[in-house]
Assembly symmetry: C2
Homo-oligomer: 222 residues x 2
């Protein structure tokens, strides 16, 4: 806590691995808060959720001094701070490009709403889908309507859930509509201008952590 050469990083320098960990900490704090836990030390937080206490302290130190000596962290306070740092207090509006299986699944994904994101619309080019809605009631619009909708309403994030060959043209349309942040579930790399934030999600990563477990723990196969 009082190392002399501790440097405070600016948000610019914070890596995505760090923000991902902040999200994980937030999920833990949500659980603790729901269980009416009021304070927790970095050590106890690490033990309960199988995290690294030193890493927790280091990650949080980027953003301020949240720990209180002899107490640890106040759960509600730290949760509020993390939501603020992650921009979750801004009620961001999300559109999903592609009303196929993945798009429809994402439109109704409970976690998004829970953390304060609003799924404003799905977009697709297929006539038979346009005008319908997801099970949770997210409307499906013609992709041609994207620019018009973006002009009328604030749209913060676009999720790309179209097949690989359509991904780049759809991303280009999203950027033309003025959306600055893109979450891509489509495989393959996409080109975006420097001022656009593109994050690609690779679901294989999760499967690989199980694969790692099986490789280390399972008996050799017959």
């Amino acid at each position: 806590m009082n190392r002399p050469n501790k440097r405070r990083q600016t948000p610019e320098q914070v890596s995505e691995l760090t923000t991902n960990r902040l999200s994980v900490y937030l999920r833990c704090l949500n659980e603790l808060d729901a269980a009416a836990v009021e304070t927790i030390s970095s050590q106890a937080l690490a033990e309960q959720f199988q995290l690294n206490a030193a890493q927790i302290r280091k990650d949080l130190a980027y953003f301020g001094e949240f720990g209180v000596r002899g107490v640890g962290y106040y759960v509600k306070d730290l949760r509020r701070h993390l939501r603020q740092i992650l921009g979750l207090d801004q009620h961001l509006r999300v559109v999903i490009m592609g009303a196929g299986n993945l798009g429809m699944a994402l439109a109704d994904y409970p976690g998004f709403r829970q953390e304060g994101f609003e799924i404003a619309a799905l977009f697709d080019a297929a006539n038979e889908k346009i005008g319908h809605e997801s099970r949770a009631g997210v409307p499906i619009y013609d992709i041609k309507e994207l620019r018009r909708l973006a002009r009328r309403e604030r749209l913060d994030i676009a999720v790309i859930a179209v097949p690989a060959p359509q991904a780049q043209p759809v991303v280009d349309q999203v950027i033309q509509a003025g959306i600055k942040a893109i979450l891509n579930f489509s495989p393959g790399s996409l080109k975006v201008p420097a001022e656009i934030k593109l994050k690609s999600v690779d679901l294989t990563v999760s499967l690989e952590s199980l694969s790692f477990f099986l490789a280390q723990h399972e008996a050799p196969r017959a």
Copy 2:
């Protein structure tokens, strides 16, 4: 590289955050290999893919000495080692529980196949789905058939893609069928015995890293 008190951790102690990073490194090495890059330093790897060079060296040091002084890493070698560490050389067989939007999307997710996972089957309880298959040809079986199929064929990992209320009973069936590793996309916590590896995926984490970016970079809203 030659700190005297460096400790080699056993795989038991390696955190999921570490294995997740190994997956990320593997993806980078795949790209480098595809681009015919033969060697790379941790520094260059970090710069090219916006990673942390010290973290790369530390993560890899858990598993052996892969770096060569004055050269860095041999891309093909390190890629092969990482695939081995992550168990990807074992051709694991995956079943997906739930043939709704998410299950169907995951069944055809290109990344799974690409890294050597085989999506063996989808399972659902809805009569109208049973007997059909996903676009990529993954057959949908009656969930009652899971135990019989698991007895006949090796099934390594079950992916849970059913609505929250069905998640626990489905997980119980998966465990009874002898599957040891579970990837859960359903919200809420699940109970599994200690010998079962359960990983829950929270797609909200990715959206939150964009939210963080917008909170730091966007002009204040009118």
